[in-house]
Amino acid sequence: MIEVKNLKKGFGDKTVINDVSVVMQAGKCNLIIGASGSGKTVFMKCLVGLFTPDSGEILYDGQDFTDMNDESRKEIRKQIGMLFQGSALFDSQTVEQNIMFPLNMFTNDSYQQKLARVNEVLERVNLKDVNKKFPAELSGGMKKRVGIARAIVLNPKYLFCDEPNSGLDPQTSLVIDKLIAEITREYNITTIVNTHDMNSVMEIGDHIIYMHKGVKEWEGSNKEIIFSKNELLNEFIFASEFLKDAKDMRMLEQTGKIDNNRNMDELIK
């Protein structure tokens, strides 16, 4: 569980994160959604300590991460896995070396043990026969999977994913989303995902935080989002007419009536 209290972060005199408080739950996919530039990445980088917040607290299972010394911070970081937007694989190393890197750095296991673990996580992310390939030889979806494999190789308690779907086709996106959701439940990880992908929201959004211009505008689950009356959120998440229709149909299905302020004449006609 990660508790964020009154987090603020700005660059120069521009405020990017404005007083955000939220609790990220263990064993669930916590989604941060919002338009490009709304501050999702900055928020995530504050949580993992790549940016220092201007004010506020970040508690990892009760331990305050913001005013920790470097050594304790390193200890927490060993429990964090992160998938970056561009995968951030080490491009001079093969897939196997990439995934083995954290093991080499932080364990004293034998090569055989490490290799077994690498193959185990590669299998977990459904990749085969890529051990000796370099990142440049992989497709976008495969890179993301290797990124996930590297992030979970040390059995983290917290998993951060920054835009796991960016640059992927819808089908591959879904596969990645499902993978993240499964891993989260399987190992009871506190997972935080940045996304602006509508599909992910509906598929894996156990807990959704909608950010708008650095402010937490809405919070709830993917069941509740259908009934949300927040106009900013609805404009963002159900942007196209098609999705608005889909939302209304789902609402009708579940409650027997459509409760919105759209002009329905066209639909009925």
Partner: protein, 246 residues
């Protein structure tokens, strides 16, 4: 950003490098890797420029020494001293600033921009210690070695050119080499080599490590790091000469 804040950040980066390695074996491996990259990687160019600069300085010294009173062996002496004092340490390091410096800056810049540095930080690794320190150490180990090799090759190049063009005999050249030899010059050259090695590795590392932006900025910062390194080398060269050659 002002010069002072940049310099302050540079010093903080240097300070940040000193921390206990997370895993000694991995750091050692990285150091060895950098030694190969920096040392073996630039051996070829060092061999070529050293040889030619020795050869050319022999020919030009002969051309300038027209007086029949001066013995031919003086040419060898002058070649030896200019190669040891200036050409090998300074010229070679200026070239290495381009070869090694741009490599360091663009490697780190690429790692920064593609978030590989962030990925290492997240794992709980001190990236200044793991990425920057081995590069600087490797430069401090390998560049003075390259400079020594360059001295030998430069002097040999001068001998070959002098003999081939019929200016002086091998015996005359060798006699000149031994005349009025001052070991202090080699010591001085090595001080320069160590200083320049630090400049060539730490300045590009700074520019690469703190890149912001994309591919364009990587190119820009690598060019800038080479320019700043070269100017710093020339400046340090002057300061060292003023301090140590009296």
């Amino acid at each position: 950003m002002t010069l002072f804040t940049e310099f302050g950040r540079y010093l903080l980066m240097i300070k940040g490098m000193f921390s206990k390695p997370e895993n000694g074996k991995m750091y050692w491996k990285e150091l060895m890797h950098q030694c190969v990259e920096i040392g073996i990687g630039s051996l070829g160019i060092v061999v070529i420029i050293s040889f030619f600069m020795g050869a050319v300085s022999a020919l030009q010294t002969a051309y300038q020494l027209v007086s029949p009173v001066i013995p031919k062996s003086t040419i060898a002496q002058i070649v030896r001293d200019t190669v040891i004092l200036e050409f090998s340490p300074t010229l070679v390091c200026i070239v290495l600033a381009g070869v090694v410096g741009s490599k360091i800056a663009s490697e780190l810049g690429n790692m920064r921009v593609s978030e590989q540095i962030d990925a290492l930080e997240i794992m709980g690794i001190n990236t200044k210690a793991y990425l920057v320190m081995p590069k600087i150490l490797a430069a401090l180990i390998m560049i003075p070695l390259l400079v020594v090799i360059s001295m030998a090759l430069g002097i040999y190049g001068g001998r070959l050119a002098g003999v081939l063009s019929g200016i002086l005999s091998p015996a005359q050249y060798d006699k000149g080499l031994l005349g009025n030899y001052q070991p202090y010059n080699v010591f001085f050259a090595l001080i320069k080599a160590y200083t320049f090695a630090f400049i060539i590795s730490s300045i590009p590392a700074y520019y690469g490590y703190y890149v912001e932006g994309g591919a364009l900025e990587i190119g820009r910062s690598s060019t800038k790091s080479v320019v700043v390194s070269c100017v710093s080398i020339l400046f340090a060269d002057y300061v060292l000469a003023a301090l140590l050659l009296q």
